[in-house]
Symmetry: C2
Subunit: 365 residues, 2 copies
């Protein structure tokens, strides 16, 4: 039940493997991170994660013969900025033994760490290899596949970044035991998203095992993470740079991102915003007559069972519409949304009217 799982991410010469298991961090090597011929490793981690896991990771890397050093930054989305990026770059380039093209960057932490460390790796010496060791469920099932790296900008989230595929990803589900419950639920929202866009069976698993999942049982967690990584890997492999069906992964995110911006970064978790965004998107789909009201209700019930919100009483529908129009995924001024036809089946729509969106947001009250 708690056996290790390996999920291939097939991207031609940029292919890599995601390993999922319990206790993997303690026995990590450059090779298990997918990188050969590594001399120096720079582990980038947010401070509170570093306190828990960095010593073990550095020791494992040094035991494997690599020269390893640690770079940290203060936790939180508010630090996912060009300023933090520049500081990490200063430390990487000027602060220790010289790095070269054989240097491996390891991101140890949640999604913010992966985005930041990945962007550092993407741009140091015009691209160093990097590996991800995510420590949150959200990063496990979402950020660990896709090669997206970024920092936020006052004009919006993730506006500065690059596509840069990792050499490998190592997911130790034991780290989820130190995760605050609210963060765990945030990751579960992305799992519900994967179920809605690709895998109705996964929705059943989430419904049946909600309790074990909320308790972080290792067997269920490995199963959950492996299934979700496989879904994301299949979508990304089919469309690496997000010009086609990879857009399906934005289900719940168009309105969700706007809700996150409206609430202010950090006031609401990403998963809570996505749960609300999915609920609103399903409202649009039901109003259009393309999705059964019963299916929408089932998704809402699953979200609630997993401790996620489907209601929010302080949303300004007009303001949220305005924010949505600035989403960088929009093309030519149109707002793009993903709507479900059934569990496991979604489509891209470019014809959203302001009224539809406003009504859907209003329905969340």
């Amino acid at each position: 039940m708690t056996a290790e799982r390996t999920i291939p991410v097939n991207l031609g010469e940029r292919s890599y493997a995601v390993r999922v298991g319990a206790g993997l961090l303690r026995k990590l090597t450059p090779e298990t991170l997918g990188a050969r011929d590594v001399r120096t490793v720079a582990v980038i981690s947010e401070k509170h994660v570093a306190e828990l896991y960095a010593a073990g990771v550095l020791e494992a890397l040094r035991s494997a013969g690599a020269s390893a050093r640690l770079l940290t930054f203060p936790a939180g989305e508010q630090h996912k900025t060009l300023a933090t990026y520049a500081k990490l770059m200063d430390e990487l380039l000027g602060g220790g033994p010289p790095i070269d093209r054989r240097t491996l960057v390891v991101a140890l932490g949640g999604g913010v760490t992966g985005d930041l460390a990945g962007f550092v790796a993407a741009t140091a010496l015009r691209g160093l290899r990097w590996a991800q060791c995510p420590t949150t469920l959200l990063a496990d099932v979402d950020a660990s596949v896709g090669g997206k790296t970024a920092v936020d900008h006052p004009a919006g989230k993730n506006l500065v970044g690059a596509f840069h595929q990792p050499a490998g990803v190592l997911i130790d589900v034991e780290t989820l035991r130190t995760l605050p419950a609210r963060e765990l639920r945030s990751g579960l929202a992305e799992c519900v998203k994967h179920a809605v866009i690709r895998d109705a069976d996964l929705l059943g698993f989430l419904e049946r095992r909600a309790e074990a999942l909320l308790a972080c049982a290792p067997g269920e967690m490995i199963e959950l993470v492996a299934r979700n990584v496989a879904i994301k890997a299949a979508v990304v492999a089919a469309d690496e740079t997000e010009h086609g069906e990879r857009a399906h992964l934005n289900f719940g995110h168009t309105i969700g991102h706007a809700i996150e911006t409206f609430a202010g970064y950090g006031q609401i978790t990403h998963g809570e915003a996505v749960a609300l965004g999915m609920t609103a998107a399903n409202h649009v789909a039901v109003a259009r007559g393309m999705l059964d009201a019963a299916a929408a209700k089932r998704v809402g019930a699953a979200l609630e069972r997993l401790g996620l919100p489907t209601r929010h009483d302080a949303l300004d529908a007009d303001e949220i519409w305005r924010i949505m129009q600035h989403d960088k995924k929009n093309v030519g001024g149109k707002v793009r949304m993903i709507l479900a036809r059934a569990m496991g089946q979604v489509e891209i729509f470019d014809d959203l009217s302001p009224d539809e969106v406003r009504q859907a947001v209003a329905s969340l009250r």
Copy 2:
């Protein structure tokens, strides 16, 4: 004699064309820059170049139906920093009509502009299309092909950046008439480099037409630029991400970059440093018995005829060796150099001894 020339750069789905001619800037459109379906254009230019050419470029783009705006920064390598990058990014993302994935970034200026604007394009919204309109000979024959973008870091040149191929390149040789003579000669040094690594005939052309080239005669300039772009395009197409023979383009640059760092950015032109670096590299090759002394002498004479230095009386050989060891192109602590066997034929060597380098640098005195 002054007909337009188009050189294809063959990089699979990242292929593009370099157009070379006289008066091209005045009739530029998104399409001649290789980009279709463009709504908004952000022209990034260094201030003194913008004063000369930006109005005409913006007018041409607007006549072609695009919404175009101008972003400028102060000229000079000392501004090729993360700080300037962050300012340009702020202006691009927050300072005007919203950009989206159809936005085209145009780099109008020399190599610094191309490197900076290219890095902005590589990382805004995780990668926007961009086009280069180089206005210096060095940028025409070097930076316009290869997709390298970067900013400098206190720890070294070009340490932060990305590979990001442009949609197209448009070279108007008329802009070379406003170029200071020293900058023109700097570009000619790269032409000599291309001759030594790939094309002995080009060395003959440079020797015979030195006077017309130094006078910027349009016919000779188009011929020169087109031949050099073709050489660089062939090398880059064979090795896009610089893991193999693209390293040949670093002929003269290993020692040259170190000389540039030693002298201090801006104290010596890039071409002057490369002329000295090539002279030193040839000294090593002659000392190894792999290159005829006569060939080395011919290269030196050609450089001098083009107004480039082959002597420098204030170089500290030990310090230059120390700087070379920090070059990001080094792998595993070894210093890599390109050495010539004959005109048009070079090889990569990883076995340079400190003494060989010190003696070669000392020979420049």
